[in-house]
């Protein structure tokens, strides 16, 4: 499966008379975008705002971040199972408005989280302080319940992203990158001298506000399956995960999964990247055993030498991470785990809720309990009144002047377990 990804660099976003990309600027017909996002009888109103890097703007509470993309050649469309039919995606050509992002905000439940600061110290913790953000605030009709509210906000974001992505369809990209994974036997034979590596992609699937979808299917209901890595670049995996802002994977990050990007970067040089296995993180121990058994079976079936395993979330998923690690390692296949830590505010406590001696190669994305002070911003987009009920904060987190003291777990992407963040360790 071969996909060309054409990046159209967006350096600025502005409201204009018609939606178009010209000279690196994304112009948006505000009313048309709002009308497109609001195409749902369950929506009372949609408001659209812009937030650019460096501005004194806080966005809260963020539900999802989505990158505008459009299918230019090849079967299917972006976000299969939601915005298009369920045709296989991941081949042909896709254009991306690189640098632009749709950010959805909605008050689905009373307790809140998910902060993006466009400047100040908070901006250093979120990758979405550096994107040109189109903030879509979705107000549903009265009386809507939490399950449906989440769905309504999620779909409104996808419609907005698809609408904006269309603006890139006829634009010549600034950069085109081809990605290719061949059918498994051909792929294994292509680089016979290199170690064969697969990627085990764990997805959050615990229930309400903790869901992930693959071609529209709730991943909680699947058994682990094989996926061509290019499928994610067309939005085959989308987020319905609204909790744990720091280490959830927004739809944007799924489409830009840096583990897959780096594996492709090394493909044919130091490794032979065979593909992805997606698996879930369910609540029951039986589901965990079944899914980790199936994952280990698929990894063994592929005959790889090593796997990268990324986790999404903390606590319950730590058990899945450890089961996947143990069962794969016991087949003689090396694992490298990517997680984040809840090691206490001083960083001194045990990081995970589970552990294994076989997990001897682990990458951390940071300590989510680290405390940060976020100064007041001139503008708060979304629902500023919810700042006093931030999950991950505490009584008195929100100060009278609008500043917030909280753990970095409240910031979108702060300890993202795919590594799509800024935290790093340096030897000094």
């Amino acid at each position: 499966m071969r996909l060309e990804v054409g990046e159209i660099l967006v350096k600025d976003v502005q409201f204009g008379e018609a939606t178009a990309v010209k000279g690196g600027v994304l112009y948006i017909d505000k009313e048309e975008l709002a009308a497109e996002a609001a195409k749902d009888d369950r929506i009372k109103s949609v408001e659209v705002f812009l937030a650019r890097p460096g501005e004194s703007v806080r966005i809260l509470p963020v539900k999802d971040v989505i990158e505008p993309r459009v299918k230019v050649e090849g079967p299917g469309g972006i976000f299969p199972g939601f915005m298009t039919d369920v045709e296989q995606v991941g081949s042909g050509r896709t254009h991306v408005l690189k640098g632009a992002a749709v950010v959805t905000t909605g008050k689905i439940v009373g307790f809140q989280e998910g902060i993006i600061d466009m400047s100040g110290p908070g901006a250093q913790y979120t990758p979405f302080s550096q994107t040109q953000n189109v903030v879509v605030k979705v107000e549903p009709v009265d009386g809507i319940l939490q399950h449906e509210h989440e769905l309504v906000v999620r779909l409104a974001g996808f419609r907005a992203a698809v609408y904006l992505g269309e603006a890139g369809k006829e634009v010549t990209p600034d950069k085109v990158t081809p990605y290719e994974t061949k059918p498994i036997l051909e792929q294994a034979a292509q680089y016979p001298g290199l170690p064969k590596v697969a990627y085990v992609y764990m997805l959050q699937t615990q229930g309400l506000l903790h869901n992930t979808y693959y071609y529209g299917v709730d991943v909680r209901q699947i058994v682990p399956t094989f996926m061509y890595p290019t499928e994610i670049m067309d939005g085959a995996i989308v987020s319905g995960n609204c909790v744990s802002a720091c280490d959830k994977n927004p739809t944007y990050i799924h489409a830009n999964n840096p583990v897959i990007a780096d594996l492709y970067e090394q493909h044919g040089k130091t490794i032979n990247f065979l593909g992805c296995i997606i698996t879930n993180e369910n609540v029951t121990l039986q589901d965990k055993e079944r899914s980790s058994n199936m994952t280990a079976k698929l990894v063994g079936f592929l005959g790889v030498d090593a796997v990268i395993i990324s986790e999404e979330g903390f606590g319950n998923p730590d058990a899945d991470l450890v089961m996947n690690c143990n069962k794969i390692e016991k087949q003689g296949i090396k694992t490298v785990l990517i997680t984040d830590e809840y090691a206490g505010q001083d960083g001194g406590s045990q990081s995970l809720a589970d552990s294994t001696p076989l997990g001897n190669a682990v990458v951390t994305a940071g300590n989510a309990n680290q405390v940060v002070e976020l100064p007041p911003m001139q503008t708060v987009l979304g629902y500023p009144e919810v700042a006093h009920v931030i999950a991950g904060g505490w009584e008195g987190s929100l100060r009278p002047d609008g500043s917030i003291e909280a753990e970095i777990q409240v910031i979108i992407g702060a300890t993202n377990e795919l590594g799509y963040g800024y935290l790093t360790a340096k030897t000094i």
Binding site: G110, Q146, L208, R220, N282, V283, N316, G392
Partner: protein
Amino acid sequence: MKIILTNNPDVVEKYPLISTYIDGSVMQIFESVRDAVHKGAELISHPLSGSIKPNDTPYKSVVISSAVGPLDFKSLQIIEDAISVLRRLPDKCRNFDVSILADFRIIDLDHIKSALI
């Protein structure tokens, strides 16, 4: 046979025949689960279900088996680890209003549904 140890009234209302209501904190739920595991119960749902941290939500439900028999060490390790996690998280002493408490309850209820199929 499955039993739910819970401090969530919505869970009791939904599953009255198999719920054991404990009028206490999340830690008291965990300790009750641990005690049941020592008597031979096995964990069916993970005690750290959900990404809402156990010191953020006041509600927790854990599904266990009603079996009485030899100690299941795997279940014991998981519940002990969960207790350890909760102990090291700071007590936030937050007073949430009624609607927020309802949201915590509905998420907790949703997350154990898959353990009761």
